[in-house]
Amino acid sequence: MATPQASENWSSRLGVIMAVAGSAVGLGNFLRFPGKAATYGGGAFMIAYFVSLVIIGVSICWAEWTLGRWGGKRGFHSSPAIMGLIVGRPWGRFLGVLGVIIPVGIYMYYVYIEAWCLGYAVQFATGRLGGPDIDYAKHFVEYVGANADGFSLGLGMGQVGLFVLIVYLLNFVLIYRGLAKGIEWFCKWAMPALMVIALIIVVRVLTLGTPDPTLPEQNVANGLGYMWNPGNIGEQLRNPQLWLEAAGQIFFSLSVGFGVIITYASYLTEKDDVVLSGLTATSANEFCEVGLGGLMSIPAGFVFLGAAGIAGQGTFGLGFTVLPQVFSHMAFGHVFGALFFFLLFLAAITSSLSMLQPGIAFLEEAMGIGRKMSVTILGALTALGSLFVWYYSKDLKALDTIDFWVGTCFIFIQGTILIVLFSWVVGVDRGLDEAHKGAAIRVPGWFRPIMQWLCPTFLISIFVLWLAKNVFGWNFQFSGAEFAPSGYITDLIGGDGTPPSTVARASVAVVGVTIAFLTIVTHLAGRRWYGADGKGATLLEETR
């Protein structure tokens, strides 16, 4: 058994950077970001993106790291227990329940996507994919079972089922090994490997030149231009949808407000830095997203398929339909295809691993059980959820519905709660004083008004915009505004002559059952945490 000192020595400086970066870097860096930037015009989007990075991303990141370490110092490692302490009232723990529900809920469908990535990597490596005559759109639909429920349950080499089982087992084996021997050990080699693979692919893309001399306009420079050329910046910046997309990209890419960082930071001690650590995690994510992701997918797609081939593609369309076509046209496409999807797999698994720790920490301290038992309970819970997503794969309805409510809506709410607690309940001055304990760098003074006023206001505004668009179906016109319930709402209540979707309703029910279970456990944990004989009772008095 390792002693605490051995654990500290084991966590090298490089190990810290890799572990923190691993939780932040995910699929969105390489697929979602470039698609959004190209769609909304490189220049205006990047302005809104960097403004959002400073106002939302860095602010909430520092707040979450600080509150997590503050809670961990008092012996708590889960979002509900820490938030109860921050509020100074036992009911405050319910403000943190979403910090457990979000990572658990996202994990249920994220492992499924992770399995696609590993499956595609193996298929490219073995030559099953990479041929120019394959209909990649049809292959994707059949591979993930988007054509019929239960279609992807097979366990053959050409089916996703085998890879679902592999990634699920791999995640839990690594988690079961413990944080030191599992997550950090894996991230220490996975993150450098990810960056090296990404750099190899970037170099390959930037040296593609003009592959087809009969189409001279389809060259790398124009591919980069498609991604980065600024349009009418002034006009585009007046488009509220652009701000919504840019802020959303920052928010979801950095994994702030998920409940992951607060748990990770709770394992730090008071003398450990949180300011530089938080900024390092953020910068690693941004380097992977803008510096690598921004030079990879869109330019490669443009060079081989032209603007028409990549326009309007969503995240999955770009990643699993467009890019396989690109690799099929490229010399050594099998190798680069396998490398690219292995890169996505590494990005995904380093994120999914971090999603399990908040649930494990919560079950341990809420139920007073050991790691093995909490891993078992969480394993059973997420297995049921993942099986549901895996089976109800038609149109990816279950995945999409859970992603909408848990992976988007709940994160906005939890992120808002977090920054309001930091800035208004703890108080921004007290909060930053806490952040500066053991800090290697200081938070600039101009961040105080940002964290106190701008960040909550900006976040709430973006959330209202998001609700207006995705729930009430606003057409983003101020004059002649029209509202019509979005597909996510009509899926639940039915639309004009359209019956509600049974799978969407069942997906919401799965989320509801998870919420109910975790809320009941949180309720029962109150006595353990804050009861007269609990360690939290005195702490609650102190924090009031």
């Binding site: 090298s12 572990a19 490189g42 050329n229 003398k271 910068s283 290697a440």
Partner: protein, 55 residues
């Protein structure tokens, strides 16, 4: 690619790369930073209890 595109790309990619490099430099080069930023205390309550019971 237009001049504006080049400027946009170089500033964006350059900014995030510089920030990332500076952060790594700061972590690696700051004296005593190894002690300050040693990472997570990778020990859960049950592991801690188990270790203490072994003493």
């Amino acid at each position: 690619m237009t001049l504006g595109g080049w400027i946009n790309m170089i500033i964006s990619v350059g900014a995030v790369t510089t920030l990332f490099a500076w952060c790594i430099y700061k972590v690696v080069a700051t004296p005593e930073e190894t002690k300050k930023v040693h990472g997570f205390e990778f020990e859960t309550p049950d592991e801690k209890a188990e270790r203490e019971s072994e003493r």
